[in-house]
Symmetry: C3
Subunit: 264 residues, 3 copies
Amino acid sequence: MITEPAELPGLAAASSLTLLRQRKPLVHCMTNDVVQAFTANALLAVGAAPAMVIEPREAVQFAAMADALLVNIGTLTAPRAEAMMAAITSANQAGTPWVLDPVAVGALTFRTEFARGILTLKPAAIRANASEILALAGQPALGRGVDSADDSRYALPFARQLAADYGTLVAVTGRVDFITDGDRVWSVTDGDAMMTRVTGTGCALSAVAAAFCALPGDRLQHLAAACRIMARAGRLTARDAAGPGSFAVGFLDRLYGLQEEDIQ
Amino acid sequence: MITEPAELPGLAAASSLTLLRQRKPLVHCMTNDVVQAFTANALLAVGAAPAMVIEPREAVQFAAMADALLVNIGTLTAPRAEAMMAAITSANQAGTPWVLDPVAVGALTFRTEFARGILTLKPAAIRANASEILALAGQPALGRGVDSADDSRYALPFARQLAADYGTLVAVTGRVDFITDGDRVWSVTDGDAMMTRVTGTGCALSAVAAAFCALPGDRLQHLAAACRIMARAGRLTARDAAGPGSFAVGFLDRLYGLQEEDIQ
Amino acid sequence: MITEPAELPGLAAASSLTLLRQRKPLVHCMTNDVVQAFTANALLAVGAAPAMVIEPREAVQFAAMADALLVNIGTLTAPRAEAMMAAITSANQAGTPWVLDPVAVGALTFRTEFARGILTLKPAAIRANASEILALAGQPALGRGVDSADDSRYALPFARQLAADYGTLVAVTGRVDFITDGDRVWSVTDGDAMMTRVTGTGCALSAVAAAFCALPGDRLQHLAAACRIMARAGRLTARDAAGPGSFAVGFLDRLYGLQEEDIQ
């Protein structure tokens, strides 16, 4: 029996945000070269703490100290892949939840094999667009690059299957986001197309998702809350933005100032 | 017989921009560590699609799939140089046009030798300041670092010679930009000195130039259009900018919102 | 006999800034992956010139040509550590002053050993928060990550000792900054908590400090001036900033437009 998607209540998202701001989780980010600053600034704005640590021996040490680990393969290299493997192993030993962002998986062989390999290492969650979910699930995909050509609704059954097969949570994001543990599904209908004109909004969401995965309580709800908070901040910001430059600036301001009543 | 420089007509630039927005070329960026986000955001704002791929085996694969390849040597390392060589070879086999931005060539031996080496691998275009053009041409240069100490007009004959010798196009940019195939020369007199106070405006222009080189039709005109569009966006933005912080933000907004009538 | 901390006079800071803008020092930045663009933009805004050069053989060459060298270990890797060692050696031979930013030293073994090792290579100055100063001094520290859990006043005696032991200057920054050569101490009471919500403000200060260390005259005063100028720009910007996004933008505008009378 499969549960139908239900819209995440604003109250639940607001409560997750309050908890995040109390706990200020420290997120160990192993992410791509393009989005480092935006990711760190998004984490700081929402109320978490970022730290980028990539030397293998340090990544091993830090993954055991941090509250969550982000693994984003956007500019994967062979040395970075080794450092990520070491960090994931350390995170798993220490009980640090880790989140996978399988950027542009499918089109490129090296990262696709790497992403499929680490899927088996018990990520707490996967945050991806529809194309990437299809690729992880071994389905034929349409897209090239990072923009999702497929719709998240089409990808949802595969997201559920991935979640069930690997004992993880999956957030498949797009015009509508679906967040599932394989059984339950939350949906988030918010956001704005302007988010696709700023590099790193998806990557920043994955980092924020990692921060929310560090919270005690219902992790599926927290993960959906991360999606809702970022989408809501995006929609509220887009109203007044003259273009993608001022959108990116306003988005960080909005994340920082977001109140419970803005989310509900 | 040598053609005198002629100002690129606004109508031509506008028509190239319209074509770019229809085609949305995917640009494989191999660029320096400083300008990754600004480059990606400039490409998104103007209507192209960026993807940064640097692992050698992925760069080989992706250079054959992308619509254009950018090679920017600003923070060149030995491993990155190898990956760039592999990507250029793959791009040439696949017919993907590639653009060289020889950042700070001349003063530093490693990158100078690398840049001179890849010059022979048939770049579609070179985008550089006057000092860099002089260095590529084996002329004594005055500058150190990335700012152009020589005037683009002084460098123009050497730019023409480079274009003729290597069968490429050269855009030498500065207070006035010249864009040449060795015979014809377009000039662009626009822009604003504030662009020199924001890191990455030249690097972003090279990425945008790569996107324009992917368009069908007169490549020299498209390359000059890239220069004109970026310069015009810069001049329009500088009017209202309080400083380099708001200039960088407004520049992306302006690129995104640029209309045909703004360019003419 | 130990001098009590005295607030740096605004007139002294203003005079250092004027000198910096005349000299436009070129700063060779070897810094972390997260703050590259913000660091370059802060240097450009204040009136200096940045260049990021990291390939070992180029770093050796460039450290001898630049006016100052910045060594920031935020995302240290083994290859980067080797390149930094080579650059420091070259800087010392050429008489180029170099500044150490020991990001997150203490918690992570690899960078801690590296930072302690290069301490003996005669940095012109160290810019760090209180936790990092305690770690360099071999004291037990409270913090994890980059935020300072200890107060700069508590760290001041250790900063003085470090300065005396290694013949260097130390700027320990926080709610109050102290700048010491082991004997004299300047203090700077300015700045704003919003600076802790934007990634890279501390790293950018270290880069600006390197630029000021390139000036002729009283280096302790110049280093304190760097702290005061950044803190003052931060406080003036925070008045009008809606959040960390607009703060980062406004901060660059403010640095660029800062007048002598703003500092006094």
